[in-house]
Symmetry: C2
Subunit: 452 residues, 2 copies
């Protein structure tokens, strides 16, 4: 196959000495580093394909796998389909399907007939799994053996399987119907007597995940048990594929990035910061900011409704940013902690009452402590006892509300199947603003009437 | 050693049938699940140790390793030192040192003389590495072989080494001075001819990390290259230990949790949400809220200084929460994106100008779009053209400031060696509030003078 790739190398007499040195320099690097360099140089796709071909077969194939999906896609869409076919055929099956799902239908249709029937079937099988499920991130290149062979035979067979498997460190024992019977690690295999039979030494109490389990839960499982891979099965316990630990790291990173984007009110996107075009990034940010601006109009209206109270005690206006800011911060704190707890599996929706109780106490404690501080700020500098009482008690009441809202809304969202990270941060802060200002003025009106 | 542990099993004639069933039930589970159960039941430490001992040696040792450090610590501090010694001796070296660093000095001093000399030396070696560096998370239980032996001999030696090594999937080739010469994976080993010599088939261009590299960078490397382990070396390239992929997952999780806590202005803590005592959690939250409350007093003062302007145009007060809120949100967006980009290595401090340029454009675009929306809100509902101009231009100016501040402060912090996540979220929002209100009033005063 090495020749097959080299054939397509465009003959370029102009390729000078420098270019040759550059390629040689790249060749010394790890494929991940080559990919990173090619991405950072922002070469056009045509040039990337050219460099890949000149790197030689094995390096080219590995480097292509490490490119970002955006770059892979532009390579596919610009270069000759036949050239690209070889990259496609050698990709890991799960990454390949993700990529094929993103490219233009024309290219995809031109390419499919060229792919070997067996591979095509494999692509179709993986295609049907919904994004974000175990099935969509698993690889079908796992090592498997029957249970009735000896360790010696097993090692011999593994030697033959190894080149095409993503990992051979975990070997799955299946029957003729691909039913998952057990697992044995390569470590146990080489430590066992050569004549032992696999079915006698394999682990039978093994943890597998259904193909429709969401990837976050899969990631949690693999890191909880310190596995290198986790088998994915269908409802009949037939082995469909495995999810390897390196994919899990990528999943954890992607999930965390999404959570960070959500809690800072950015519509999630997958590219790196500098890779996201400014125009698109504008919409990722503008959409939420516009929603939040409309929400904050609520605060404006609340203030307009209470214009009378403001006229009565002009200084009330000065403390609004302080009250709403502090409560927004407390709400963000509790929301982020609960969102993170949910993501790590430390909190589940049925903990509602426990969370409620904790955050009620916490809100009271924080509200009192901060209320007292605010009281002294007002009294010592403005010498207005009533204003001090208003600010302090408003701070307590709104902080309690903010704290509970922040903690409980993510639980409710999770319960009804939405992403809890949606609520944390700006959105809660903005809603709390309007509620907080209302509470503030109600307390002010009540106390002003009471004192007079 | 099985008997050694069993000896200490307290004789409890009262332990009824139920307890027996409970232990048997636990025994069926994976050690990670047993640990989770024991944690969730919130047993006292004494009871946990009792259950562990009754689970039998191997399971007990593995389960103990999976307990949280807090629980491990209370077990050590309540149970007999001699009993606990066996758990300590069987822990992974890196986890063990972390734990020993946290327990009372008395217990530590009582335990040390009981530990075998070789283990004690190993503990002392690991002890000196600073927390957060590669040295502090590496394990010294790696598999290593000399380069001049054949594959067949290597496999035989690995069989002997295997029980005491954290992983044998990567085998490091060292010389007599432990100088790192190369690496070979078990996969390559079993696929090679039995008579091949290791030094001829090993990978020599391998990636290692210095012992003082920070764990975040290590985690990034291991996930970039999809390794199962990464060797840690001293300045003379002597192999000190390895960092395995399962530890890396834990590091990534911990780092992300810390970032989430920092950006929501919570002083970072390690326990799970429900495990953190309320009293301590109060201080984790109160400290930041108090700092932010003091910062927000700035906003109050700014408003007090501009009381005249407010008297001139009372309606100005109504729009303050909208302007400050929107700018706070934009600042949070850009800060979180940059913080995340820094954590993933997508952005480095020397990208300052590129980030500045991007966020300048983005701030202008967002400011104009949102300013126009705000203008129409004011004009359509309040029929006050001048107020509309004030609000819109203040929104543009403050949003631009907020966006740039949010994006650039994390870069500066990173440059001077602080955690960039410190700035994101509430802190920036609160500082921006005061700046925003100042800009708002300055624009208001200027426009009011201009129109009259």
């Amino acid at each position: 196959m090495s020749t097959a790739l080299q054939e397509h190398l465009p003959y370029s007499p102009s390729a000078d000495r420098d270019d040759f040195t550059y390629i040689e320099e790249l060749r010394q690097l790890h494929p991940s580093d080559i990919a990173e360099r090619l991405e950072n140089e922002r070469f056009p796709a045509q040039r990337i394909v050219e460099i890949l071909l000149r790197l030689g077969n094995r390096i080219a194939i590995e480097t292509f796998q490490q490119l970002t999906m955006g770059t892979q896609r532009s390579c596919l869409e610009t270069a000759n389909t036949k050239i690209m076919l070889q990259f496609i055929e050698n990709m890991e099956p799960d990454d390949r399907v993700d990529l094929l799902k993103k490219i233009d239908e024309d290219i995809w249709e031109a390419m499919m007939p060229l792919i070997a029937q067996a591979e095509r079937n494999r692509i179709c099988r993986l295609w049907k799994y919904k994004e974000g499920t175990a099935g969509s991130v698993m690889t079908t290149e796992y090592a498997y053996l029957p249970g009735d062979i000896t360790v010696r035979t097993a090692l011999e067979r593994l030697r033959l399987q190894a080149p095409n498997k993503e990992t051979i460190y975990y070997v799955y024992i299946t029957d003729a119907q691909r039913q998952l019977l057990g697992m044995i690690s390569l470590r146990d295999l080489i430590m066992s007597r050569p004549h032992a039979v696999l079915s006698e030494i394999m682990q039978t109490s093994l943890i597998s995940v259904p193909h429709d389990m969401d990837v976050e839960t899969v990631a949690r499982n693999i890191s909880k048990y310190d596995f290198l891979a986790l088998p994915v099965v269908d409802p009949e316990n037939r082995l469909l594929g495995i999810i390897t630990v390196d994919d899990v790291i990528d999943i954890i990173r992607a999930e965390n990035t999404e959570d960070f984007q959500l809690i800072s009110a950015v519509v999630p996107f997958e590219e790196q910061y500098f890779k996201r075009p400014l125009g698109k990034l504008f919409w990722n940010r503008f959409l939420w900011l516009a929603i939040l601006l409309f929400t904050s109009i609520l605060s404006v209206s609340v203030m307009e409704w209470h214009a009378d109270a403001l006229h009565q005690m002009f200084a009330l206006a000065f403390f609004i940013p302080m009250v709403t800011g502090t409560c927004g911060n407390a709400g963000t704190q509790s929301a982020t902690m609960v969102v993170r707890g949910l993501a790590l599996g430390e909190i589940v929706p049925k903990d509602f009452l426990r969370v409620f109780y904790r955050e009620l106490l916490m809100g009271l404690a924080l509200g009192c402590a901060l209320g007292i501080m605010a009281y002294f700020r007002v009294v010592l500098q403005d010498h207005n006892l009533m204003l001090g009482c208003i600010v302090a008690s408003a701070l307590l009441a709104t902080l309690l509300t903010a704290n509970l809202t922040g903690a409980l809304i993510p639980l409710v969202l999770k319960k009804i199947g939405l992403d809890p990270a949606l609520t944390a941060g700006p959105f809660i802060a903005t809603v709390i603003d309007a509620v907080g200002i209302t509470i503030y003025f109600q307390i002010a009106l009540f106390l002003m009437e009471f004192f007079h």
